[in-house]
Amino acid sequence: MSHDAIADMLAFDMPTALTRDDAARIAALAMLELSDDELDLLARQLGDILAYADQVQQIDTTGVPPTASVVTRHAADRADELRPCLDREDALANAPDPALDAGLFKVPRVIG
């Protein structure tokens, strides 16, 4: 099945409204902790925006390649050489919880 045929099928099934649960699933993917009020509002607003954006489904794009970048001419490759980069001190200067002596970024517990 072609991309377009799949897209047409999906377009047919596209939800016109999102539920709070839908919004919660997207928020989890995006690592955003949101309140129930925020989820309700976003479900409604995203539904409105997607309903508006659905007009692109009317356009026949059979055989049209996607454009991800408009760069027409790439700069020449460069040699893969070691070059100076940020000092460790500079790199840690903005960290919320740096371990300056060890030169590390500290984070809360990761496992169990």
Binding site: L10, M31, L34, L50, T61, V64, T67, V71, A76, P96
Partner: protein
């Protein structure tokens, strides 16, 4: 003062760079409380820099921006000078490096006077999404200056800086320039390095100059343009002498007018002023040609699908680990969620959500891929038009400056303001806002000219020619002092 006047004053010894800097800082002091155009004013640093230029006048004699004060949008990194993107997330962020454009301004002798307010992470069309409060339009303090580079446009319009840098992902240099009555240029994608610009939509973002006239914009563009090893999308194309291109001669230049697109709903005063502007250019010898851009009317939905997808990916880096805001949380996952949930404002969260959705399994093809395909069709429309014309003309914004609070509650109403600006970003083409009049209520109106890839010179020449026959760009708003 124009760049030419400032440089002449310094060269002749009539004024020092320090005196010019002091005047600028004094005006910022007086008017910024009303306008909220700056997040940070770098008074000490600017005066020290101006002093260094005065002490070594021989060295700076031929530098194109020696002693010229410039305001830089607060999403462009400045080493040692707080750069917030108008977000709580980066409220205390002090970059350890300069953006390439800032290094180039430095090498040209410019004096950075401060960092300008903008929509949070350059997402918005009114400046109201800034975590530090909206910028106010110098022409009407209860109205929006536009967004996202509203602080830069308002600063230049009100004379708080002769020139400024903005960034433009979907119209963020041109639309505020239109609503504030100044010249704003979005260069061709790749013309200016994006290194050190806080990323929003990486395939759309460009940094551009905001100025009172085409000549100043030309000089600043000449300074910041060019290939950069730190940005693989920056272009190797040669940089013309933009100022030298301002000959006043537009004879034979063909201006394309997409009449069908303009039927989408343009405020009558805006429509009338932009049509009158084209008459002025026609009287100078340009010709008007009807063009058809059949897919341009889909540019707004395509833009919001593509740009939010890119933004959701770019903003994944704000995780509370290496820099920026961190909220508590018993473990790493909770820390991520709370940091992002509390550090980002409503519009940024909305766009991350939308972008995450359109990139997610099951919807990628229907939304993201489809939008990228329509992006190709929009690009082809322009390529076809540029076989027949040299520039395409339309209003920059369908409406003049709207009231603060008027659109912010309904995101979709806000997105529709971008209808004429987003195409240039999707297609990577250069586009300029040219102030072309005022409404009866004294709100600025802007004409947008879009050009061929890397043909900023033609846009600037048209803008300059138009300025020679009109007086819009010489007008200053009257701002009541508090």
């Amino acid at each position: 003062m124009t760049i030419r006047e400032i440089r002449e004053a310094i060269r002749s010894g009539r004024q020092s760079a320090v005196e010019i800097c002091r005047d600028t800082l004094a005006r910022i002091d007086t008017l910024n409380p009303q306008l909220n155009a700056f997040n940070t004013v770098a008074a000490e640093r600017a005066l020290a820099r101006a002093g260094a230029i005065d002490r070594d006048r021989d060295r700076w004699r031929d530098a194109p921006l020696a002693g010229v004060p410039i305001a830089v949008k607060d999403n462009i990194c400045t080493r040692g000078l707080r750069t917030t993107a108008s977000s709580r997330m980066l409220e205390a962020f002090v970059p350890p490096f300069d953006a390439t454009v800032v290094s180039r301004l430095d090498a040209a002798g410019a004096v950075v006077v401060g960092k300008t307010n903008c929509d949070e992470f350059a997402m918005g069309s009114s400046n109201e999404t800034s975590a530090f409060g909206p910028v106010r339009n110098p022409w009407a303090l209860d109205r929006s200056p536009g967004g996202t580079s509203g602080g830069s446009a308002a600063a230049v319009a009100a004379g708080l800086a002769p020139v400024a840098l903005g960034s433009d992902t979907g119209g963020s240099v041109r639309q505020p320039s239109s609503l504030c009555g100044v010249v704003g240029l979005k260069p061709t994608y790749g013309r200016v390095s994006r290194y050190g610009l806080i990323a929003h939509g990486s395939s759309l973002d460009q940094i551009g100059p905001i100025a009172r006239g085409a000549h100043d914009a030309a000089i600043v563009l000449g300074v910041i343009a060019g290939i950069d090893a730190a940005d693989s999308t920056s272009a190797p194309e040669p940089i013309p002498d933009y100022a030298a291109a301002l000959t006043g001669d537009v004879r034979g230049t063909r201006i394309g007018v997409p009449r069908a697109l303009l039927e989408q709903g343009v405020d009558p005063e805006v429509a009338q002023a932009s049509a009158a502007a084209l008459d002025v250019l026609q009287a100078r010898g340009a010709t008007l040609v009807d063009v058809d851009l059949p897919h341009a009317r889909y540019a707004t939905p395509v833009y919001y699908l593509v740009s939010t997808a890119e933004a959701s990916s770019n903003l994944a880096r704000y995780d509370g680990v290496r820099y920026g805001f961190r909220a508590g949380g018993p473990d790493l996952r909770a820390m991520y969620g709370q940091t992002r949930g509390r550090g980002f404002g409503a519009e940024v969260k909305r766009r991350i959500m939308l972008g995450t959705y359109v990139l997610s399994a099951g919807y990628y093809d229907a939304y993201y891929l489809k939008a990228q395909q329509v992006r190709t069709l929009i690009l082809r429309d322009y390529d076809r038009a540029f076989e027949r014309v040299d520039v395409v003309a339309m209003p920059t914004s369908p409406v003049p400056a709207f009231k603060l609070g008027e659109r912010i509650a309904d995101p979709l109403q806000m997105y529709l303001v971008d209808v004429f600006t987003v195409s240039a970003n999707l297609s990577g083409l250069p586009a300029i806002n040219v102030p072309c009049g005022f409404t009866v209520g004294r709100l600025p109106i802007g004409l947008q000219l879009t050009g061929r890839r890397f043909d900023e010179a033609t846009l600037l020449r048209m803008a300059d020619a138009y300025e020679r026959d009109t007086e819009w760009s010489t007008q200053l708003p009257l701002i009541p002092s508090r």
